[in-house]
Homo-oligomer: 377 residues x 2
């Protein structure tokens, strides 16, 4: 039995205080006790999402809340722009297709952020656009998109800006209300440090108007019903009680740390991770790297999967290979949720061992010194 | 702080061996280790569902799998018969409406099982019926429906029989394959003794044909995608890893006990519960009482909510009042999942105290003796 370390961009390590909460006796959800918990969670989610608007919690993985963003705000044949710069942008397109919308794809090169000028042009060519579906942190390429820039194109218009922040929330800055983002989607297994099983969706006033006009079929993810229950700190269907109880403690932690401080912390971890890669003579993949996860190119002639497999099999450390076409072109190290400086030191120390074993030449310890220099300056 | 006892029909108490499993460190879902767990869970679910067909697991509450049963097997305007004998039958109707089907309601009096003759007549009047949506255990009235009888009307026909067994599974007999039930839906927080957050759906060969012909929009609950992943012991989206790991242990327990023995056990608990009610001079509500939960009429002139509230507030024991129109007409005591004989002794002992405090006249201890006589014979 190997001691395990989770350095993947979701699920992320679940701290022991959360695991303790998950092991408590279950309580009934139609009680004053649970209503109090839900009330605190609902308030806390507003803090984390940087919004004054409601944030609904579903028992589902993040994709459920992505579906809710499509099926609740649009109608059959509505035109939406899906910004596709990786696997999770593609998911927006798939959902929009599945629900009979008319999605226009804006392709973005892997590792790049969408060009605001191009998007503006695309909007001009498609004056009937009802929404833009995009991603804060495209996990598959470890890239953070310029959501603030995009929001300037939609803020004063009848266009919804819908952002998948499943991976990015808590690490990459997202000023939902200040920027005017209408709908933000997230999940429990990244910045919130919980096991997967909860998804979240924030709903702006503008989005509530779209909600009233939508004619697409929905039931489990129906936000009309959800908002009605939300007003009473209740849920339309049995909530994932155990996860919500643990979420309360996770939010307490985030509030105590302060969301601004967390952004700073992960900015530093991300910057140090990139320095460590460069110190090893490796290249960072993304042109606009996220603070949640870093994608690194393996040394010439080496396959990502060999590095990833060796780290997992021989040292119990889970990092991620690329997804789809990028499978062997990058490997990804997460710095989100409960992951800290010490974890990165440990991870790079083993990465050095693995690269050495695979025949790569570099100065032993160079990535560790690079990390230390950023951490201890 | 009061010591708490959960005697409600979901959530049910989570045993300590499951709570221990929930508190373990999280593992990544794209690993051999998790694939092995999912494989064992998938096989185990077949055993519990009494089927050789696939049983898909979603991260959602039971209603999610109910939605999946509608959106995956039918098309716009398809005629289905919804058997409505309580709150959960109504839910079938609501979902069918939401997805644009043409639902015909067969109303069943609260506490009764649908008449097979009437249903047969209804089918003759509606020859274009594509499916029957019904309930194994209508929790709101504590009634078990004659699914075997219904299945005889659909087995040899091009009509899908879809059964919500969210509350009933593990307590009320359901011979999925033997009877020819096409789709069975369940959830994690009843017979499986887990917190809520997982839903299940079994899919017969006949249902797979309907799946191919369905044109309704779906994405998160798309069974085509789910079945493709299932074949590799994988899931299309991030699964609720923690709950699935705990489910493995819950299924181990169920297998060890034996599903047939569990049915016998809960039959005895249910029968004893009814005897205890009668011994107190009270009436059992259902004409075809379930082995999962018992609904009892309060003494003349007394409101269910007063009994339920007093039990919870003064003694920490959660039982359930009625739902909707039945709110004050019945109270419900669960015997499912981890609940055992001792729990019922404890529950009725306090029920006697509460009834006495509320001014009801009866012989103290009479319900306890009635329980003991059934338990120890």
């Amino acid at each position: 039995m190997k001691r395990k370390y989770l350095m993947t961009p979701g699920p992320t390590p679940v701290p022991s205080f959360i695991r303790e909460a998950l092991s408590r006796e279950i309580i009934h959800h139609r009680t004053d006790e649970f209503i109090e918990i839900l009330k605190e969670v609902n308030e806390g989610l507003k803090y984390v999402f940087c919004t004054q608007n409601p944030v609904i919690t579903f028992a589902s993985s993040g994709t459920g809340a992505m579906e809710a963003s499509v099926s609740n705000f649009f109608s059959f044949n509505d035109k939406v722009i899906c910004i596709v710069g990786g696997k999770f942008g593609e998911r927006w397109f798939e959902i929009a297709k599945a629900f009979g919308l008319n999605p226009v794809v804006m392709e973005v090169k892997d590792g790049e952020s969408p060009s605001i000028d191009e998007l503006e042009k695309l909007l001009k060519e498609n004056k009937d656009t009802k929404g833009i579906l995009t991603t804060l942190t495209e996990t598959s390429t470890a890239t953070v998109f310029d959501i603030e820039g995009i929001s300037k194109l939609t803020k004063e218009k009848d266009i919804l800006l819908i952002v998948d922040a499943i991976s990015g929330l808590c690490q990459d800055v997202l000023l939902t209300d200040e920027w005017g983002v209408d709908v933000v989607v997230s999940g429990s297994q990244k910045g919130f440090m919980l096991p997967p099983g909860l998804s979240f969706i924030s709903i702006s006033k503008k989005a509530e108007i779209f909600l009233k006009n939508s004619n697409l079929p929905k039931y489990y993810f129906d936000l009309n019903k959800a908002l009605k229950s939300y007003a009473k700190n209740d849920t339309p269907f049995t909530p994932a009680i155990g996860l919500i109880i643990a979420l309360k403690d996770a939010i307490s932690y985030i509030k105590q740390e302060g969301i601004g401080n967390l952004w700073e912390k992960f900015k530093k971890l991300a910057s140090a991770t990139r320095s460590a890669a460069v110190a090893l003579g490796l290249e960072v993949f993304s042109k606009r790297p996220s603070n949640s996860v870093t994608a690194i190119l393996p040394p010439q002639g080496m396959l990502s999967k060999d590095i990833v497999k060796k780290m997992r099999k021989e040292y119990g450390i889970s990092i991620a290979a690329g997804q789809g076409e990028l499978e062997n072109k990058i490997f990804r190290i997460a710095h989100m949720g409960w992951i800290n400086e010490q974890d990165l030191i440990m991870c790079f120390s083993i990465l050095e061992k693995v690269l050495k074993d695979l025949g790569y030449k570099f100065k032993l310890g160079s990535s560790l010194v690079a990390l230390q220099e950023e951490f201890y300056k």
